[in-house]
Symmetry: D2
Subunit: 341 residues, 4 copies
């Protein structure tokens, strides 16, 4: 197989980015854009006149020149579309989140394993130079013991009809967290409000608990007047501020911290002071994450290797989101991750 024939399913918000990146990749040959809505179909024809647009998913799956499909449709449709593709013997890339439920994800993982097909989820942040640099700093123990991960991901966003804001925005932080640290959350607690009747929660707060003193907190919102993408990672030795909206200073590493001192006046008591240090802002490569992701999908297929954002990782993320959603419905009651049925 020289080039991987791929069909991109769904030409809404994200689909065009996938088409553009797969077309720019020397590994892929974009054979079809699959889209049934007339408006989106017309849009696809205008932007990519040289790619065939089809509304017939079954026919596309029957095409031998199609070796893989990339699914960028609403979350609820991920499972049936991916299932059909795996049944047709195609490798599958799915937009985040992998499915609407952990059960569905488990089915897809088992199907892909049986058939020796690659199942990968497009958790794009895992392919950014920023997140990989932070991961290195943590792995090399430059930050020391980790204290917390605190993320704010808010903007005036389109309300999604089928998923709440956790599945749309917090999903990014859950994937980043999973990639950065080696431990899984034991329990999750979340609060949220829908504000508009009949719609899912647009404002939500989520805390993740671990077997030790590390804590993670995620603040997501489709109703904010300002766009914010800021994550703080506090460590014993150093702390990081990751501001994804900064064009050139995305990751700042602070040599700040706390010190334990003996208080002069009450010598029996431990006093905690703080320490201010230099700040380091490493230069980051500006490669587009989606291009890296596309390359990784290609090599996972060719080398039959487990992708970094495997179906299994996608499942574990969905387990966290399911627990959070259940907690939200029970007024923040802490829910065990993996324990939602």
């Amino acid at each position: 197989m020289s080039k991987i024939g791929i069909a991109v399913v769904g030409f809404g918000y994200w689909g065009p980015n996938l088409v553009r990146n797969f077309r720019a990749s020397p590994e892929f040959d974009v054979r079809f854009i699959v889209e049934s809505k007339p408006n989106a179909q017309a849009n696809a024809r205008t932007r990519f006149p040289e790619v065939e647009t089809s509304a017939d998913y079954d026919a596309v799956l029957a095409d031998d020149g199609v070796h893989a499909v990339a699914i960028a449709t609403p979350t609820a449709t991920h499972f049936p579309l991916a299932k059909a593709a795996l049944e047709a013997g195609k490798h599958v890339l799915i937009e985040k989140p992998i499915t609407s439920s952990a059960h569905e994800a488990q089915v897809l993982i088992a199907m892909a394993a049986e058939r020796g097909l690659t199942l990968m989820v497009d958790h794009t942040f895992i392919y950014t130079s920023a997140v990989n640099l932070i991961r290195e700093k943590i792995k090399s123990d430059e930050l020391g013991e980790l204290y917390y991960y605190d993320s704010t991901r808010i903007n005036l966003g389109l309300f999604q009809a089928d998923v709440n804001v956790l599945w749309d925005l917090a999903v990014h932080d859950v994937s980043i967290l999973m990639y950065l640290i080696d431990k899984k959350p034991t329990k999750v607690s979340a609060h949220g409000i829908a504000h508009v009747n009949g719609h899912p929660e647009n404002t939500a707060y989520m805390s993740l608990f671990y077997s030790d003193d590390f804590i993670a907190h995620i603040n997501v919102n489709w109703l904010s007047p300002i766009k914010t993408r800021q994550t703080l990672i506090g460590g014993e030795k150093k702390m990081i501020v990751f501001n994804d909206l900064e064009p050139t200073e995305k990751v700042k590493i602070y040599e700040n911290g706390i010190n334990l001192n003996v208080d002069e006046e009450t010598s029996d008591k431990l006093k905690i002071g703080y320490r201010l240090g230099d700040i380091h802002v490493p230069h980051l490569e500006t490669t587009e994450a989606l291009a890296v992701m596309a390359g990784h999908f290609a090599s996972s297929i060719k080398e039959k290797s487990e992708p970094k954002t495997s179906g299994q990782m996608g499942l574990e993320i969905v387990e966290v989101l399911e627990a959070a959603t259940q907690s939200m419905q029970r007024s923040g009651e802490p829910i065990e991750v993996g324990g939602v049925n």
Copy 2:
């Protein structure tokens, strides 16, 4: 009574600011700085050589020239110091929070009422031009129905020995919230981590629930590499960003919002879009809030009127903090406000 004789008790972090502002006020005569620690006492003598410094609180309370005391000592000592002052017939101003427990606050409120004395809490933000401008915008319905209050108040701060970070930082947001909106929270849920053994929580997240769809969330932290003081207030018609670290653009009013539209392609479904509008940044007077607070304390005493930050308000804030602390101990279990015993 021409000038109100006042004694400032405690010359730590906040005491010097009180002394400076009471001295600058034409209504007050600062008679004593009460301080027992030798270092702080020496510091008081150097900075205010013309004010008498005393370690004998009882003698100060016995002085007829002292009409009022301002208490700026650690929280745990507020109650006994204020009780003694009220018993001696003095008006009392207490640093926030009023006391360590709702019960103590109730005792002080009753004592002050019986004796016809003024009991006021120094919730300084209530006297800033920023918070008062935001209150006006809300009261005049410029923002429409309120959706949420979301505040981040973090920095590399001194760990307090006797209170957790909620009592040190979230107390500000609880007071601002209480002043801005007319409703009280029904339940509170909070999570937090201590990180250092034997010390109170330095990182905490708190959600406040109301009888309607409004939600408030407060993120406080003594372990952040960057200082943040940012509050978002989301309304149906307008939204506000209050950034207290901005020297000249503290309050920004966004004419942004959401729109309910009928989706063209699926006309049976309501689609929610957003609307971007102008931003207005009102000029704010730069009066020091503490000076306004001092003037308000004087007029409350002279006119025997209820202060804006009365003992009762102080009590209601402590009730929220007590509920939050209990929730934190019970892994985020929602606790009814006013129901902690």
Copy 3:
């Protein structure tokens, strides 16, 4: 003529943007990309496989399906390429600056006038919603008498081989200035340094003088560690800060100003104080300026009307740049605009 057949000449930095926008416009049909460098040609074929790429400019000019050419090549080549196009009876759009000298611009203007062809320069800023909003504020006298225009346009940029930094960056400010105010500069003074032997100036400062007290100053630099695109416009009643790097708050209107007061202590002397007011940040449409420019080129051709960024405007801008370059060579000696031979 239904669609205007156009050829884009030069596929370097700017050419691809022109191709993309002319292709997205319903008024144009992009017939050719003219490019002789093999690398750039290959790049054009990859990005726009459906557009014919040619190295033979004469053949393209001989094609009757080509009604207009858009020239995006190095400045020194603008004149011969545009001259040939006008001779072939084509409408011409030229990247800024129009030519390397005022004389060349005059020749092109005369040729276009004789032949009834449209000659337009792509001074893109004139088609942005930001600059048009500022122009409205000035024209409606909202700012009062204008005091100054002060612009900083710096970054770590590619050194140009054939033109100095004034012709590359200050050209934008000169065009904006010309569009915003109704007066022309009388004299220009400039200083600059080349730093690298045999290369044109990479750092330059330019002052523009008028027949009244208005002054303009432009700071341009290819050697700055940070990118800045900030323009201050000071008026008697209001002032504007135009920061082109701000995604959502590009134009801020300050109701600040100066007041003339009588000094209390020395009543015979006029004292000047300042006044701080509200700030207003108008919402701007996010239309791409190049799309607006393309539409304007089409309507100028079809209606045979003078474009906003006409050859004449292009000439006047080049006259300012010529005077500035001469001043720079004479250590800042003020040079009359239009007086360079």
Copy 4:
């Protein structure tokens, strides 16, 4: 002599800061505040009731307990006040700029030398940790060859009656420049506008030329809607951005620069590209510069050593300002530094 008895002359904008810092210094004893305006005198008595306020400068100079005077009055009065003090055998500290003319400065320098008295100018920036850190980076050749110094120092400021904006604001940059680099400017060119009749220039631009390719540019303005204090220092190896309004990130060191490459397509030509690197933000001590300045004045007196901001340095700065003012009057004609009569 244990403590140096000092009199502070002038209690306007800066005087109170001098009094506060000399009082906080263990080396000084503030004996008098000299002030003749009734309002300012009353203000001095309120803020420093324990310091004697006097309107009789001669009597103060006659007091043997006064060993030094600090002059913080309008620039035009510096010379007569300093002359009288030196005649009375007092050490002298003068607010910047030292005098209104180079000639006056020369007289003071000669008088101080004859009498063995310390003559120092309060160029405060020279005592900041930020400027000293930058100096170290330059002296250790970390930046490589210096290319330019480009400073913007603008805000809505009080118009001064007796000096133009160069003498009020650019004076800071001239002093910083002189301290940072080892060379003196050969020529100066400046442009400025007064805008208000009968008042000195409120907006000015100044370029400083050297015997090599280094260039400095200073942009000062009392009419800006926003306050800016930003200096860029470009070097061959590294570049610095010094933003004095940043609370914690005042000095940023960029490992950016330019590279000389051979262009692939036209191999005979040198192509200049740029290089992006890490950013380093060193932690700075937060000592108040005025306190450091006061200590340096004390040690210069006691050790009879030349202060860093000596009368000679003050003279050289005034020579630059004189040349700039003359250039401004001659429409930017380059004027030799030291050559103004």
